[in-house]
């Protein structure tokens, strides 16, 4: 409570009480003195009953702070370069999906949101000899990095990139084509979000990472898969994930 109280009521005919007058102007006691209380002592009890906080009263970015980033270029990730046969948990950051924000204080909430266009070439390989199918994992998942550098995987953001191509391994059954591509049909947008309640002050970041399972298959493939071609040749297969336009944004709320 900072309501400024009256130390002296001026009354006609009375001798001026200098101590009372001085306290009306400035006092070391609480709730006294028009100068002393307004030296940082005013609070919401001093506001008029119809007072409204307007946008102009809010210091820039004091209540809501927004940051954004993006990338336009297409990035191709191939299993022969983005995956690792020695480290099975190798996650590669995806450019354009990270939003970083500096929090000068601990806000009530931080809201991250990111969009990424993903167009994959992920094989599903059918073995005509034993009728088995196989494919390799490709996963995107977001991580939060706190001011201390501690990383937390945001498991709810985990998504498996769809299969987009089929290959029948050359066997006893063979038709005019053994490769089918459905990359365009499986081109997707991921728009995901994450909330962080009362994070500590400092730098925070959420970034998306990609995992591609390593493999090294050599298969018999018709070079021109879309047309009938009389010969098959051996080729090494890889998966590819292309990231088109990505953007990320983050909002902190007091």
């Amino acid at each position: 409570m900072s309501t400024i109280n009256k130390s002296l009521a001026y009354t006609d005919g009375d001798t001026l009480d200098t101590d009372g007058h001085n306290k009306n102007i400035f006092s070391t006691d609480l709730n006294e003195g028009i100068m002393s209380v307004s030296n940082g002592g005013l609070d919401d009890t001093n506001l008029a009953s119809d007072f409204t906080v307007k946008a102009q009263h809010v210091a820039p970015e004091a209540a809501v702070r927004v940051r954004a980033d993006w990338k336009m270029e297409t990035l191709d990730f191939n299993t022969d370069s983005a995956s690792s046969n020695s480290d099975n948990i190798s996650y590669v950051p995806v450019a354009g999906t990270a939003a970083r924000i500096y929090l000068p204080y601990s806000p009530s909430l931080v809201w991250w949101q990111w969009s990424m266009f993903v167009t994959p070439w992920r094989w599903n390989i059918y073995d005509t000899n034993d009728s088995s199918t196989r494919d390799r994992d490709i996963v995107v998942v977001a991580y939060h990095v706190d001011p201390a550098g501690t990383e937390t995987r945001l498991s709810h953001t985990r998504r498996v990139v769809p299969i987009s191509a089929a290959l029948s391994e050359y066997g006893t059954v063979y038709g005019t084509s053994n490769v089918k591509a459905r990359q365009a049909r499986n081109s997707l947008l991921y728009d995901q979000a994450h909330l962080l309640g009362q994070p500590s002050a400092g730098w925070h970041e959420v970034q998306v990472r990609l995992y591609m399972e390593y493999y090294n298959d050599a298969e018999n493939v018709v070079p021109n898969g879309a047309e009938a071609w009389p010969a098959v040749y051996q080729a090494y297969l890889h998966d590819r994930v292309s990231f088109g336009i990505c953007n990320s944004r983050v909002m902190s709320l007091l």
């Binding site: 906080v53 009530s108 990139v161 944004r249």
Partner: protein, 534 residues
């Protein structure tokens, strides 16, 4: 203004000098009249009064029904008969998604923009005699649609749902064991040698699935003035994309095909960053003293010290300077929120049936059956215990206040939709006429059941029809689409009559021909609810 102190302390035998007397009161009057600043206010204060001006929402939504029908009257394939739907022209030009535009005036601001819609590449058909459905793009086609946000006539390029080069050809990721054999040819028939070669494949620079909900957004700074924000779309229509190549007796044909947008929404959160001062200011007019003036209760008290005290005890809105209040002064920028991070241990499914677009109160009571009604997205363990559901009361047991404070709710969700499959005795993996639906719902306090929000209903389909395209490859290949959901509840003008117990995510299967039941599968999910001050 800065801290102020009296120039002298009045003592008992001092002569009352009008200059010194004025110096007792004038600094405080100047302080008030020159706009109070952060130095004047207690950093630990709680400024709960008044209307916050942190975020100003601008929202528009449009419902449209693809008219699958209901289970009672047998399903039909989706169509654009609802005049509220919007069909894209296939001419590569950006066009406004009908009614998705907002015009408003801002200060210097950041606009946090979110657009959402559900589209279906139409031209489905169903042969009742063979019980097989088909689609115009069954063979190779992709929907090839792009969406974006447009602000003041300029496309925000980093919101485009595709690539920055629409004609960039992709390549097949294979590496020939022997790069220089003469038989290795490119798609256009040219020999691949000499040197390394790849097989180029058609462009993939736009969204491809035949049915999918899309959410996109950005944060854009704007200058003071009037601004128009739009949700726009285009359909890539070059021959590279349109050559669907269905062979007929007369050769290959380019087919007519259309993509139609159904439910859709656009939200703009205007966040002022450096707003202009919108008021003329205020002042406290006190009596000052000249030589020979009488000092009495009126001149020194009522008209001077008392007036200053009263002004500082009832500070006018316009007495505050620009940017006075910082995070230590201001109330929170959010009334309430919750987040559910949903990660079941295994894939979950249901074959419960979509009850129809306008049947929002028909909720399934069993996990499968099939029952007719919306099924809460659950983890396969329980579909009633909140902790097992993609529902806000999993982490926010208390009801959301919707009856006392003017506010604005933003509700978002994501679900990892894995696949749809037909589950009859002879599954036809390549039948594309099975659909899945997702929607948001909520339950009011005191209600017996939740209500599905019609404007959030969106659709996915079974489009991984690969088994018919290879000779023998398995057809149970999952779609693996991320399904975004989005809704805003505007309580800035009118409050509800009851609080909201919870928000949740619901699903069902739809559109599959009679006798060929379908099953929808999902796994991870996310739900967030924000209640912002209005």
């Amino acid at each position: 203004m800065s801290y102020i102190f009296p120039k002298r302390r009045l003592r008992g035998r001092d002569i009352l000098d009008p200059v010194e007397l004025n110096q007792d009161v004038v600094p405080a009057a100047e302080n008030y009249s020159g706009r109070l600043n952060p130095h004047n206010f207690d950093a630990d204060g709680s400024y709960t009064r008044g209307t916050e001006a942190y975020i100003i929402p601008h929202y528009v939504e449009q419902e449209a029904n693809p008219r699958f029908g209901t289970p009672d009257t047998s399903w039909i394939m989706p169509n654009s008969a609802d005049t509220r739907s919007f069909t894209l022209a296939t001419d590569i030009e950006w066009q406004l998604v009908d009614s998705m535009t907002r015009t408003f005036t801002t200060n210097q601001s950041v606009l946090w923009i979110t657009g959402w819609l559900t589209y279906i590449w139409l031209e489905y058909s169903y042969n009742s005699s063979t019980s097989v459905g088909t689609h115009v793009g069954y063979e190779k086609g992709s929907a090839r649609v792009q969406f974006a946000i447009r602000v003041d006539g300029r496309i925000i390029e980093h919101t485009i749902t595709g690539k920055n080069d629409n004609f960039l050809q992709s390549y097949m990721p294979i590496q020939w064991d022997d790069e220089k054999v003469t038989a290795a040819v490119l798609e256009d028939g040219e020999n691949a040698f000499p040197g390394p070669s790849t097989i180029r494949v058609p462009p993939a620079a736009a969204l491809g699935p035949p049915a999918m909900p899309v959410r996109l957004g950005c944060a854009v700074p704007v200058q003071p003035g009037s601004h128009t924000v739009e949700l726009v779309c285009r359909r890539l229509g070059s021959e590279n994309y349109r050559a669907l190549n269905w062979p007929t007796s007369s050769g290959f044909t380019v087919l007519d095909d259309y993509v139609t947008v159904f439910n859709r929404k656009l939200l703009v959160l205007d966040i002022p960053t450096n707003p202009a001062v919108a008021s003329s200011g205020t002042a406290v007019d006190i009596r000052t003293f000249d030589a020979e003036d009488a000092i009495n209760a009126t001149s020194l008290g009522t008209n001077c010290v008392d007036k200053l005290r009263d002004a500082h005890n009832a500070i006018d809105t316009d007495a505050m300077g620009r940017g006075v209040l910082n995070n230590n002064h201001l109330p929170s920028a959010i009334y309430d929120y919750c987040q559910v991070e949903f990660a079941p241990g295994s894939i979950v499914s249901t074959n419960n049936q979509y009850p129809g677009f306008n049947e929002g109160t028909t909720i399934a009571s069993a996990t499968s059956g099939p029952d007719i009604g919306w099924t809460i997205v659950h983890d396969g363990v329980s579909m009633t215990a909140a902790a097992n559901l993609l529902r806000s009361d999993a982490t926010h047991a208390a009801a959301f206040d919707a009856t006392t404070k003017k506010s604005f709710f933003v509700v978002q969700a994501n679900v990892r939709f894995i696949n749809l499959e037909r589950t009859s005795s002879s599954p036809q993996h390549d039948d594309p006429s099975s659909f899945g639906t997702f929607a948001l719902g909520y339950q009011l306090s005191g209600s017996a059941a939740p209500v599905i929000i019609e404007s959030t209903i969106c659709f996915v389909s079974h489009h991984q029809t690969l088994s018919g395209l290879t000779n023998v490859a398995g057809g149970d290949i999952p779609e693996n689409i991320d399904v975004p959901l989005f809704w805003c509840l505007d309580l800035t003008e009118t409050l509800l009559s009851a609080n909201i117990d919870y928000f949740g995510v619901y699903t069902a299967v739809a559109g599959h021909p009679s006798g060929h039941e379908a099953e929808i599968h999902w796994k991870h999910g996310h739900l967030m609810v924000l209640k912002l001050p209005a």
